[in-house]
Structures are given as structure tokens and as C-alpha cells.
Symmetry: C2
Subunit: 429 residues, 2 copies
């Protein structure tokens, strides 16, 4: 049996998963890869920390050179996260002719190009299945399985934390704050939840998916991003009343030759397969011009699911099944697709406004919508005898730019306390 030595950078959640899988599934991996995989060294911050797993202490090191400069190590797995120093470590591994497997979405989304080019120049494999949607083999699917297709659209639920929170808000009537607290207690959300709840995490993943699917370079600044912190129980309730479920979605699609990329909460039809993706599960809905509608569903995070993607990448490298040339060819023929400005996005909208409870106000607002070309599907006013009333509009399909202009005018009208929320409605067929 052939033997191969790998090095691991980082021994957190995913690192632990990789270690467990390499041990538990040794037989399967041996059979499928033709190799006995041996872990040579693992870079950690503190070799004395108790990690609750049975990693022999002599494998741990606090010196990156022990991984990056060891000639016996053929594959380096980077699962430490963050841009710095992960980027430098990966570049050094590549220079030392090591294949690289990474789960680092932020690094890929912001500095991917430099890493891909370096790997190409040195003729080593650079794999990153684990960077998007954990265990779901979406990178593989786009890169290898859907190659006969022109991909038209991707809609993903690719952040488990926000999906967990929204599921709790939808089915257990929790507030955002209570659901976030529960998610934190259960380990589904970080102490500082910003990256998840403000949509940054989903944005990085969308950048990777968009680049891959549309064969073009992506600037993350071109991705519209909005989190879920403004979603209130009342919005969830209105959505339900109209047959929708609110999800944080990441969308990319080509519209009139430009690329529309956005991450934001949206109401989606409750009968759509994406609507029943609950808890911390992820799913990616793809429309290809040959395959039609497809969805991949699974665990988007967690030690073993993400470890599954990492170890499968290692096996792919060992099998030599990467066609490095073919993947480079796509990169070297990157299309120059311009991003579509957000004001050109077409959508239906849900707008919830607190207005002064005076005669004529409703008419005034409706007139403003009309002036800006926004056609109203439904309007509801909650009849409370207070100074301010809550009015909810569901619009027909319109341009984001029209909504923006109408909202500015409504704010300026003097009869509005505040625009409580604006949520896009994606009527996915």
C-alpha cells in the first residue's frame, strides 16, 4: 500500500473532524484512494491545550515551518481560517510543491486569484470543496458534474447560523435576539455573530460560487449584502399569511449580460423546496440550461460534514483526478462579465411603514408608489387607535431603483414615522 503524509494547519472544529474521519474511515479511504494517509504534523497555537481528542502530542507544533518545509509532507490542509497568516502559509506550501486543500472562504473570495495562479504555476492541486456549504459537494458538482450546462442561476441558503435563527423565528415564534442567543448556546453562532447575521459569510461563499459558475472574476464589493438583524416576528407573520417563508438567500444570475449578485433576507414561496430547508441545514438551488432545476441539500457546517469535504478533496488529489489544466483553462478564459447595479434588480417587495394615523396618509403613500412606477398588489393597515399606524404593502414586480426613489419621497412626506422594513420577495418558480 502506498503511503502519503499530510500536514494540517489548524486543529479547531474542522481539524478535529478531519482527524476523526481519517481514523474512523481508514479502510474506506485506503480502498478509494489507494493510499494510507498519515498525518505528519499539525500546526496549533498552543500545543498544551486540551482538545478532547486523541491526537498524539508529538504531532502538534507551534512552528509553521514544521509543516511547510517538511519535504515528506505532500499535501497541506489549511483549516485555520482568516486571511493572515493563512495566505502566506498556503503560498509557501505551494512554492514547496505541496498540494493544498483549504476550507477558507474569506481567503478564497478575496485573494483566490493569486492562490490559483500560484498553484497553476507550480503545477500543484488547489482544492476548496469545504469552503462553501460544508459537506455539500457543490464545488465538485459545478466543476465536474454540471459541465454540460450553462448555469443560469444559483439561489443558496448557505449560512447555517442565520437559517437556524430564522427557523426558530418562523416555527417557535422567537424574536431575533432570543433565537440568536439559543444559537450561541448550542454552538451554531459565534460570540460575535456579525459575520453570519450580517451576511458576510454568505457573501464570501457567493463570490466563490459566482466565479466558478459564470467563469469570471468577482469583486466582493460588487455583491449586495444585507443581514437578518432587522427581521421582526411581525414580518415572519405577514410572510406566512401570504404563503412565504423568510430565508437569508444568496443569489447570482445573469441578467442582460450582467451579473446580479446579492445576499439578503427574502420571502420565498412556502412550497418551494428551499423553503423547507430548516435549522442549520444548507441548500443550493441551481438552474442549468440542460439539467433544469437541481438542488443539493445537507449540512453546511460542523466538524464531520466539513471534514468530509476536506478528506474527499485529499482523496481526489491522491487519485490524480484533478484536471489541473482544464480548470486553469477556464480561469485563463475568464469572461469579463460586469456586475449589474442593484437599482436594476427586479423583484417584488414587502414594505412595512409606520405612518401617522391621519386621513389621507394612506392615499398619499400609494400615490407616491404609483408615481415611481411601483404597482401595489396588497395593502394592509393595522387598525390600532394610536398616533402611528403600521401599514404593509406587497408590490408587484418592480425595479429596486423605483422602490428606492419611492421610499425617499415617502420619508420626505412628513407623515411617516419610519420605514420599518423592506424585504424582497423572490417568487422562485
Amino acid at each position: 500500500m502506498n503511503k502519503v503524509k499530510i500536514g494540517i494547519l489548524g486543529l479547531g472544529n474542522v481539524g478535529t473532524g478531519v482527524w476523526k474521519i481519517l481514523n474512523t474511515n481508514k479502510e474506506e479511504i485506503r480502498k478509494r484512494s489507494g493510499y494510507d494517509i498519515e498525518v505528519g504534523k499539525i500546526l496549533v497555537r498552543d500545543v498544551n491545550k486540551d482538545r478532547g481528542i486523541d491526537v498524539p502530542k508529538e504531532l502538534l507544533t507551534e512552528n509553521p515551518e514544521d509543516v511547510l518545509k517538511d519535504d515528506s509532507i505532500k499535501i497541506v490542509v489549511e483549516i485555520m481560517g482568516g486571511v493572515d497568516p493563512a495566505k502566506d502559509y498556503i503560498l509557501e506550501a505551494i512554492r514547496n510543491k505541496k498540494h493544498v486543500v483549504t476550507a477558507n472562504k474569506m481567503l478564497l473570495a478575496t485573494e483566490g486569484d493569486e492562490l490559483f495562479t500560484a498553484a497553476e504555476n507550480e503545477g500543484v492541486a488547489f482544492y476548496y470543496e469545504a469552503s462553501v456549504a460544508g459537506g455539500i459537494p457543490i464545488i465538485h458538482a459545478i466543476n465536474e458534474s454540471l459541465t454540460a450546462n450553462k448555469i443560469e442561476q444559483i439561489i443558496g441558503i448557505i449560512n447555517g447560523t442565520t437559517n437556524y435563527i430564522l427557523t426558530k423565528m418562523t416555527f417557535d415564534n422567537m424574536t431575533f435576539e432570543a433565537a440568536l442567543k439559543e444559537a450561541q448556546e448550542k454552538g451554531f453562532a459565534e460570540a460575535d455573530p456579525t459575520s453570519d447575521v450580517e451576511g458576510y459569510d454568505a457573501m464570501y461563499k457567493l463570490a466563490i460560487l459566482s466565479s466558478l459558475s459564470f467563469g469570471t472574476r468577482i469583486n466582493i464589493e460588487d455583491i449586495y449584502r444585507e443581514g437578518i438583524t432587522k427581521i421582526k416576528p411581525i414580518d415572519i407573520k405577514y410572510a406566512k399569511d401570504f404563503g412565504y417563508i423568510i430565508k437569508l438567500i444568496a443569489i447570482v444570475k445573469e441578467v442582460s449580460g450582467k451579473l446580479e449578485m446579492r445576499v439578503h433576507p427574502a420571502m420565498i414561496p412556502e412550497r418551494h423546496p428551499l423553503a423547507s430547508v430548516n435549522d442549520s441545514f444548507n441548500a443550493i438551488f441551481i438552474r442549468g440550461n440542460a439539467v433544469g432545476d437541481m438542488m443539493l441539500y445537507g449540512r453546511g457546517a460542523g466538524d464531520l460534514p466539513t471534514g468530509s469535504a476536506v478528506v474527499s478533496d485529499i482523496i481526489s488529489i491522491l487519485r490524480g483526478s484533478t484536471d489541473v489544466e482544464a480548470i486553469s483553462a477556464v480561469r485563463n478564459n475568464y469572461l469579463n462579465i460586469k456586475p449589474s447595479p442593484m437599482e436594476n434588480t427586479e423583484s417584488e417587495y414587502y414594505v412595512r411603514i409606520s405612518v401617522m394615523d391621519l386621513p389621507g396618509v394612506l392615499g398619499e403613500i400609494s400615490t407616491i408608489f404609483g408615481e415611481e412606477g411601483v404597482s401595489i398588489l396588497s395593502v394592509m393597515q393595522k387598525g390600532k387607535r394610536e398616533e402611528f399606524a403600521s401599514v404593509v404593502y406587497f408590490t408587484h414586480t418592480t425595479l429596486e431603483g423605483n422602490i428606492d426613489k419611492a421610499i425617499e419621497k415617502i420619508k420626505a412626506s412628513g407623515h411617516v414615522k419610519c420605514i420599518d422594513n423592506i424585504i424582497r420577495i423572490e417568487n422562485i418558480q
Copy 2:
């Protein structure tokens, strides 16, 4: 640009899809494969038949040798279906050192071993993504993406015809007969629907999935098979009342070192992702010991979806990304897993019985269930003033063998008109 010539055996539904995709997505395919794919010859039964697509007549031939013996053809696509003569054609193509792509599930399920061995001996690729679940890249997922996992269980909705019929019965209150007629009118069912509605089609696909996932040879005789023809609207209604949806499912799982393989209608929980797979869509739910629960959803049939799988296979061959050795290694290390006898299957059961409406009959039947170790969860008797009453039992988890014995005794009791239906309940978590 490199050029490669392919030959196609069959120009039906899938063949038309392949032709369309090769033309429509020429640019994408060129970029991803590094090749211009040219169709050399297409074997058809009648070159004069009008197929409604723009295939130049000089490409058509009625002589298989024009495809199989043409040295300029490097890849043969077999999409004629059936075992005979498809098997001989494929073997001849392999002997002539041509790579083969097939969509032929029946052939693979029954004669796959001989074909794999032949391809291995000649060192050519033998791909079959299109044979299971059309456009869904399930073969690729198991073979290449989930390699880090020990697969524990697969539950699939892998027959579009029966799923269409059951969807109509569930949501439009149709009878089986009416739904079948509509499916036939819409082209979702054949004039002779036996292969679909009796579960043969799903059985072939399950054999392929089982062999691949568990690394073992499968005898299709070892797969329990039952179709959907006995499902009545009343069964659908009872299922709904208890929170279930009836689907034709194909299951494989390892239980106590043996392989349980079965195709039959089952009640599944309405909140499970598989329950919302409607119309002619397919989905495959996989549980891996690392990745956890995963589902792939998409179009299981149709010219373009199935063509998508065929053309993606061609591209994989052109990229040289098949690790023929690794796949052979799995085959050459096939495990000897015995099939699990059906009487050892554990399930909950729904049993609908027409009994004589006499005092004591209900007690008698319940006693028999108890004697055979079948514990009852719910029982309902429809109170009609007729000679026979309909009684419905929902059982707790029990062995199929116990149910069988109880049913024999109940039949022999003399107070039963008939056992109207027995449907397994899969309480998938």
C-alpha cells in the same frame, strides 16, 4: 483546438437531448473539455423517420458497424436502452478501444459486471451517470465527492412516473387510474407502464446505487420490489391524517452486516425533505458517517436533464479525470455482503382490512397482532352499516416476518373479507 469524434447508438428522447446540448452549449463544452466534440455517426432504426430535429441525414446510419468499427470515433454513447443488442454493441465498442458512456440502467443492473471488467481489461472509461436519476449527478457524488464517507443509508425517489402519479393522487385527489392516464397523456408514462408502476425501473437504479455505495455485487433478485398499483385514495387520506405522504421509495442500508434493499410505496413524514419532492422530480437522500444527511434533488428524466448527465460524462472522459485504476480497485475489492431477508426488515405498518361487522371481530384481530408481537399504535373502524367494515391499523415498529405471520392468521380467522392494503411507514428522522 483539439477535436474528438463521438458515435451515438440511439436517437430517441435522450439522444435528441444530447444533440441539442452539444450544439447549444458548444462554447461552454469547448472551454471545459478542451475539445470540439463532433458527432461522427448516429445509429437509428430508420434513417428516414422524421425526428423533428436538425440532425444532418448523412450522420444517420442503420448499420451499427458504422459506429463501432469507425476508428475515428473515440467515444461511443449508448442510449438505445434494453439489454439486447445494447450489450453486444457496448462490448464491441470496448474491444475496439472506445470509451463508453451509457444511460442503460437495466443493462447495468443485470450485466454490469461483465461490462466493467471488459472496460477495465481494455483500459477504457465506462461511464453511466445518466443511468440513475437523469440529470442528478448521484453517481459522481458517490464515486468522487463522498469518498471520505462510509455510506450508511440511501433513500431515493428515483422513478419520476410514479412520483407524478402519487403527487396527483395526493394533491388533486385523483385515483391511480386517472393519474396514470394523465401521466401517459403528458408523456410521463409509457403506453405499457409496467416497468415504472411495478417498481422495476426503480429496482434497476437501486441495484446500481447499492453496488456503488456499499462496494459489493448486487443480484436484482435480492431486492424486494412492490409497485404502487394497489394504492387507493383512501390510503392517501389516512396517510395525510397521520402526517404522512405516500411515495415510492427505494432504500438500501446495512443492517447487522447485511444489506437491506427494497422498493415499495411507503408513508414518509410530511416534514421530511423527501416528502416535498413532487411531480416528476427525483431526489436521493444519503446518510454518510461523516457528511451526515444529504439530499440531491432534480429532474430524473427528460431529454435535456438526462442529456446533461451524458454530456458531462463525455467531458469527464475528455478531461482524463477518470481514475480508472481507483474505480477498478474498489471493484476488485468487492465486499461479500449478504442480502438481508425481507422478514428481518423492521418498519412500522399501516394495515387496512375489510372485516365482517360482527361483535368480537376487532378484538380477535387485535389479539392475533398481539400474539405475533405486533404492537398497535392506532386503530380506526369506519362505522358504516354494511356487512363489511373497514378497519385501519397503524402499528409500532415490528418485524416484517411478524406482520406476515399475523396477516396469515387474520386471513384464516374466517371473519375477514380481505386485506385491502399493507403499506410500510418509514419514519425517517
